[in-house]
C-alpha cells in the first residue's frame, strides 16, 4: 500500500496536505481498507473551529462508527459535500477527490509534529 510522500499523517489515520496556511484533510487508504464499506460520513459546517485532536466528524461502515480527529488546530473553510453524498466514493479515491475538509491552520508549523509517510507506514505495521 502506497502513502503519498507529500502528506503528513496521524496515528488516528488522518492525512493532511499543508499548503501555506491551508490544510486539506482526509483519512488514509489503510483506514478505509480496515473499515470496509463506507456508508456514511458526517462532516462539520464551514466556519467551525477545532483544536488538534478534536473530533470533527464521523465515518461509518456497515458495522462501525469511527470519529475523525483534527490533525492540527484550525478553522474549517470548506467541506467535501460530494463525499457526504456518496461516501462509497472514498473506497476508490481517498487522497484526491476523497478529501473531507479544508481548514485554515492556526499554526502551519504544527504539521511538523505529525508523521511523514515512512513513519506512518512503519506505525501501521506495528
Amino acid at each position: 500500500m502506497e502513502f503519498p510522500k507529500n502528506l503528513k499523517y496521524t496515528k488516528d489515520h488522518e492525512w493532511i496536505d499543508a499548503q501555506d496556511k491551508q490544510g486539506t484533510i482526509g483519512v488514509t487508504g489503510f483506514a478505509v481498507e480496515q473499515l470496509g464499506d463506507i456508508v456514511f460520513v458526517e462532516l462539520p459546517e464551514s466556519g467551525k473551529h477545532f483544536k488538534s485532536g478534536d473530533s470533527f466528524g464521523t465515518i461509518e461502515s456497515t458495522k462501525t462508527v469511527s470519529d475523525l480527529y483534527m490533525p492540527v488546530s484550525g478553522k474549517v473553510v470548506a467541506v467535501n459535500t460530494a463525499v457526504k453524498n456518496s461516501p462509497e466514493s472514498l473506497q476508490s479515491d481517498v487522497y484526491q477527490n476523497g478529501w473531507l475538509v479544508k481548514i485554515e491552520m492556526d499554526n502551519p508549523s504544527d504539521v511538523n509534529n505529525l508523521l511523514d509517510a515512512g513513519q506512518y507506514e512503519a506505525f501501521i505495521k506495528e
Binding site: A31, Q34, G36, F40, S61, T62
Partner: protein, 376 residues
C-alpha cells in the same frame, strides 16, 4: 479515527483456515472467530438477494432430544405447538424463563415421532443446554449437546438450488427441489451424509446444511467450485446481519434477551398460549391480561443518519425506548432498524432517534422492511 483490534482466545470453526486463505476479515462473535466479510459487506448482501451466497454458521449450537417423552417434554419447554410439527418439518420457537423472558429463540426439527434436532444460538448454547437438561429430569428423554460434532453452512439466495444441484445425485436434487419451506431431509452431498433444511436467516429462498465437522471443508470448497455453472460466493456475518435486519428477523442479544417476552418481541404468531401449559406461560398470560407495555417495531430513517443498537428513541419529547438493531438497509434503501419501545405509537408515526446528541427523524414501518421471498 480509532481502529479496533481483536484479542485471541476464541473458538474456530472447521472452515477457519479456508476463510483466512480467502482473505476474510475475522471478528469475534458469540465466543467464535467468524468471517465478517470477504471484501465488501454491501456487495455480499447484494449477491444473496440476487444470486447465491454461502455462510459458515458452524458457531450455531445443535441439541438433540429423543425418547418416549420427547414430544411431551418439548411441548412443555417451548412456546410453539409441537403437536403441529410433523416428522420432517421444522418450527421456529423459543424457550422462556419462568418470568416469560426469552432464554433463546431456536428452530426445532422433528426427525422422528420421538426424536428432535434443535438449532440454538452460539452465544446461548451452554446455558440453553443446561436449562434444557435441568428441566428434562422429570421426563423420559435423552438430551445431548451435539454442537461440537456439527458444522453448519447456509446456502441462501434465489440460485441456491442450482448451486447445490451439482453436488447431489439427480434423485436427491429432485427431492430437495420438492422440500417444503422449513422442512428437513437427510441426504448425501458429495457423498457426505448431511441434513438439509429449507430454512434461513436472510429473507431469501435457501437452505441450511448440517454436516459432520469432518465434511465441512470438502462441502464448502465444493459449493465454491469455480467451474460450477452457477457460482456461489462466501458471505460474512456483516451481510448476514443486514440481510436479516431487512427481513426483520430477530437477533438474540440485540432485539430480545431474558427480560423481553415473545409477546413484546413480536413473535406472538409462534407463541401458542392455548396449547396447554409451558414454561413461562403463566407470566405471558398475566402480561397479556394487563396489556403488553412495549414491543419491537421496525423503522426507517427519514433524516440522513445511521441508527445503532442502544440509541435512544423519542416520541415527541418523551423517551420511549431504544434501538435494538440498526444499520444501513442495502436493498430497502436508506437506513433503519428495529427498536423496543413503549406502546402508544402506530405505523406511520414519526419518532426520533438520538444520534450523537442530535434528534434524527425516523418513521415506524410495518414489519418486515423487506418482504421475505423464502417460499418462492
Amino acid at each position: 479515527m480509532t481502529l479496533s483490534s481483536t484479542a485471541a482466545e476464541f473458538k474456530n470453526t472447521p472452515l477457519y483456515d479456508l476463510h483466512r486463505e480467502a482473505g476474510a476479515k475475522m471478528v469475534a462473535f458469540g465466543g467464535w472467530m467468524m468471517p465478517v466479510s470477504y471484501g465488501s459487506v454491501l456487495n455480499e448482501h447484494k449477491i444473496v438477494r440476487e444470486t447465491c451466497g454461502i455462510f459458515d454458521v458452524s458457531h450455531m449450537g445443535e441439541v438433540r432430544v429423543k425418547g418416549t417423552d420427547a414430544r411431551k417434554f418439548l411441548q412443555w419447554l417451548t412456546i410453539n405447538d409441537i403437536d403441529r410439527l410433523m416428522v420432517g418439518a421444522g418450527q421456529y420457537s423459543a424457550i422462556l424463563n419462568e418470568s416469560g423472558g426469552m432464554i433463546d429463540d431456536l428452530i426445532i426439527y422433528r426427525l422422528d415421532d420421538d426424536e428432535f434436532f434443535i438449532c440454538v444460538n452460539a452465544s446461548n448454547r451452554e446455558q440453553d443446554y443446561k436449562w434444557i437438561k435441568e428441566l428434562s429430569s422429570r421426563f423420559t428423554v435423552e438430551v445431548e449437546d451435539e454442537s461440537d460434532r456439527w458444522a453448519q453452512i447456509a446456502v441462501q439466495g434465489p440460485k441456491s438450488l442450482e448451486v447445490l444441484r451439482p453436488l447431489l445425485t439427480t434423485n436427491d436434487a429432485n427431492r430437495l427441489e420438492a422440500l417444503p419451506y422449513t422442512h428437513i431431509q437427510k441426504t448425501s452431498l458429495l457423498c457426505e451424509s448431511v441434513y438439509i433444511a429449507r430454512t434461513g436467516y436472510t429473507g431469501e429462498f435457501g437452505f441450511e446444511l448440517y454436516l459432520p465437522i469432518e465434511s465441512a471443508q470438502k462441502v464448502w470448497s465444493g459449493l465454491l467450485d469455480p467451474k460450477a455453472p452457477t457460482k456461489a460466493h462466501p458471505i460474512g456475518l456483516g451481510a448476514r446481519d443486514t440481510l436479516r435486519l431487512e427481513a426483520c428477523y430477530l437477533l438474540y442479544g440485540n432485539d430480545m434477551n431474558e427480560t423481553v417476552s415473545p409477546l413484546e418481541a413480536g413473535i406472538s404468531w409462534a407463541t401458542k398460549l392455548d396449547k396447554g401449559d409451558f414454561v413461562g406461560r403463566a407470566a405471558l398470560l398475566e402480561q397479556k391480561s394487563k396489556g403488553v407495555e412495549r414491543r419491537v417495531i421496525a423503522f426507517k430513517m427519514i433524516q440522513d443518519a445511521i441508527p445503532r443498537q442502544g440509541m435512544k428513541v423519542f416520541f415527541g419529547d418523551k423517551l420511549i425506548g431504544s434501538v435494538t438493531s440498526g444499520s444501513v438497509l442495502p436493498t430497502v434503501g436508506g437506513a433503519g432498524g428495529m427498536a423496543l419501545i413503549e406502546m402508544g405509537t402506530k405505523e406511520g408515526d414519526e419518532i426520533t432517534i438520538e444520534i450523537r446528541g442530535q434528534q434524527k427523524i425516523a418513521q415506524i414501518f410495518k414489519r418486515p422492511l423487506y418482504a421475505a421471498r423464502t417460499k418462492s
